[in-house]
């Protein structure tokens, strides 16, 4: 049952962070059309400039506009974070539900596979795989997505096991409902709350992981702008100008902060006892 919407402080945070994320999304998607510049065009007469009328956030060491680069870089970050958390959600649900619903042997093997994937710090695994096979957009999405599949799979597995015990599932079975119908009508709607919360946490993690990889020079390759890459190259010029490092850091942190707040208020919404 959907409870009546009230303006609690949690709801206000939820709306605010949603708005920040939406604003970022709009800036990254529409912004490049308004500031009609190329993020890879160099301008050697305008290197490491402070914010001015032509370049709203200043320029980097190649004289490229920082704002326009943030827009393109943020776009890449969001695309990767969104696609990889969607990937983790769908694939994780598939494995978790298969293991939980068809249980026993198959479930055991699937969950041990998940244990293996989760047994290693994600960023080290990502460095290893991306370092060997290159940091193309698809590679990054797949690697980050796969690394977070176990989080969804484990959660949906344990939820599925406890939901399976309910009488309404038994009733569905007794009425002759097909497996798929039981999964989609009986189980999935009942485990979606915690799964959505987990997915939003994964979203924040993927943002951090992607920017960390591009900071190390292993993400999407230059001259394509990425937030992590901009911070990394800007830090060599910190003693001359802080803008090339500061602004991408601000945007990246804001993105992660709002993703974190979003997941936190979602958790409070779905699980008030937490």
């Amino acid at each position: 049952m959907i409870s009546k919407f009230r303006l609690t402080s949690n709801n206000i945070i939820l709306i605010l962070t949603g708005l920040i994320l939406l604003c970022m999304l709009l800036t990254f998607s529409i912004g490049p059309f308004i500031i009609n510049k190329n993020p890879t065009d160099m301008d050697y007469s305008n290197m490491l400039k402070s914010p001015n009328e032509e370049y709203l956030l200043g320029t980097d060491n190649f004289g490229r506009g920082i704002l326009i680069r943030i827009m393109y870089g943020g776009r890449i970050s969001l695309i990767i974070a969104f696609s990889s958390s969607l990937f983790a959600l769908l694939v994780g649900l598939f494995f978790g539900l298969t293991a939980g619903f068809y249980g026993k042997k198959l479930g055991y093997f699937i969950m041990r596979g998940m244990d293996f994937l989760i047994s290693f710090p994600p960023i080290l695994m990502a460095i290893f795989v991306v370092g060997l096979f290159g940091g193309s957009l698809v590679n990054l999405i797949l690697v980050i997505g796969i690394l977070y599949v176990p989080r969804i799979a484990r959660l949906s597995y344990s939820q599925c096991l406890s939901i399976n015990e309910n009488e309404y599932i038994e009733a569905m079975k007794a009425l002759g409902a097909k497996d798929l119908r039981i999964i989609f009508k009986g189980i999935i709607p009942n485990l979606m709350g915690p799964v959505i919360v987990q997915t939003s946490i994964i979203f924040a993690y993927s943002l951090l992981l992607e920017s960390g990889l591009s900071f190390l020079g292993l993400g999407v390759q230059p001259p394509n702008p990425t937030l992590g890459g901009m911070i990394s190259s800007g830090r060599s010029y910190l003693h001359m100008s802080i803008h090339a490092t500061l602004w991408p850091s601000v945007f990246l942190s804001l993105l992660v902060l709002s993703a974190n707040l979003l997941s936190e208020s979602l958790r409070e919404k779905f699980d008030p006892t937490h």
Binding site: L124, L132, F133, G228
Partner: protein
């Protein structure tokens, strides 16, 4: 407990075996001829075939795999393709540096995080509590490398209090060594600090609201005694648990910290050898990291039973 431990060690060995196989397979899955990739563009045919010989690439895959496994059991992990030093010599050296960083990062997170959490809990709902809360959620969202760079900007470039990067071994001077350790360990520990703050706060608040504390105060115990003698002790259990669970995650964070501060640890070894395509080192580093990570997690699980006797492993 013993049979649990036995089973855990067996699992650990299986996991390690899987990691080794996974790393081996992936390195051999790189599209193209690995020998040619390692030799680089413009290498002579001769150089390529030397590398192929050296890496045993002429053999079929399964024989290479068996050789690798044999090597591992005898402690022979191959030699670096760049410097020709044995992998078993390079990796342990770097491991010490990483461990030092992790230990000091963890210490920082406890020294700062736990008291702040206590203050926030004892002043629950006050402005101080709200400020600590806001700061902790902001810091939990700051990427490690952003924190590191801005610490360098403030403390090294602006005020020139601490060196911005590098590593000096203990033999070359205690002071210089620790001066270079401060910024990296703070950077690494900050994430865990915020977790400690939040855990300490929520756990102490919960404990202070229990009946036995109310009874103790009603019976005339001073609130300080009730805090220190009773509430604090019990509220520390979940904090220590979460703290130890998170120690392993410092391994992941150390990658970026080592990169920023030029710290010669395991992760920077991994990255530099990936960039130089020095695959034996990559393999060795991954295996050592996996081993250490697994052992830490095993210890944490055992520690868990000691801290909270209600938890029993079957």
């Amino acid at each position: 407990m013993l049979s649990y431990l036995f089973r855990r060690i067996i699992t650990l060995i299986i996991l390690l075996f899987l990691v080794v196989s996974f790393v081996f397979l992936l390195i051999h899955l790189i599209p193209g001829d690995p020998a040619r990739i390692i030799a680089g563009i413009g290498a002579t045919e001769e150089a390529v075939s030397t590398i192929r010989e050296e890496m045993n690439l002429n053999q079929p895959l399964y024989i290479q795999y068996i050789d690798k496994m044999k090597g591992l059991f005898t402690g022979d992990m191959g030699r670096s393709l760049v410097t020709d030093t044995p992998v078993a010599q390079i990796v342990p050296k770097k491991f010490g540096a990483t461990l030092e960083l992790i230990i000091f990062g963890a210490i920082f997170s406890v020294i700062v995080g736990v008291p702040l959490g206590m203050i926030a809990a004892s002043k629950y709902g006050s402005i101080l509590d709200i400020i600590i809360n806001i700061i902790s959620i902001i810091f939990i969202s700051l990427p490690v490398f952003v924190v590191g760079i801005f610490l360098i900007y403030v403390f090294s470039l602006n005020y020139q209090l601490l060196p911005s990067s590098g590593y000096v071994s203990l033999n070359e001077g205690l002071l210089h060594h620790f001066k270079r350790l401060i910024l990296p360990s703070i950077t690494l520990g900050l994430g865990l600090t915020t977790i400690n703050i939040r855990m300490m706060r929520s756990s102490l608040i919960e404990e202070l609201n229990t009946d036995y504390i109310r009874t103790a105060i009603a019976k005339g115990l001073s609130s300080i005694q009730a805090y220190w003698k009773h509430a604090m002790k019990n509220s520390l259990i979940p904090v220590v648990t979460v703290f130890s669970l998170q120690i392993g995650s410092l391994f992941g964070g150390s990658v970026l910290v080592e990169h920023i501060f030029n710290w010669p640890g395991l992760s920077s070894l991994l990255i530099s050898s990936i960039n130089r395509r020095d695959y034996p080192i990559v393999e060795g580093t991954m295996i050592v990291i996996a081993l250490v990570y697994f052992i830490i997690n095993l210890f944490v699980d055992i520690l868990y039973t000691i801290l909270d006797p209600r938890v029993k492993y079957e």
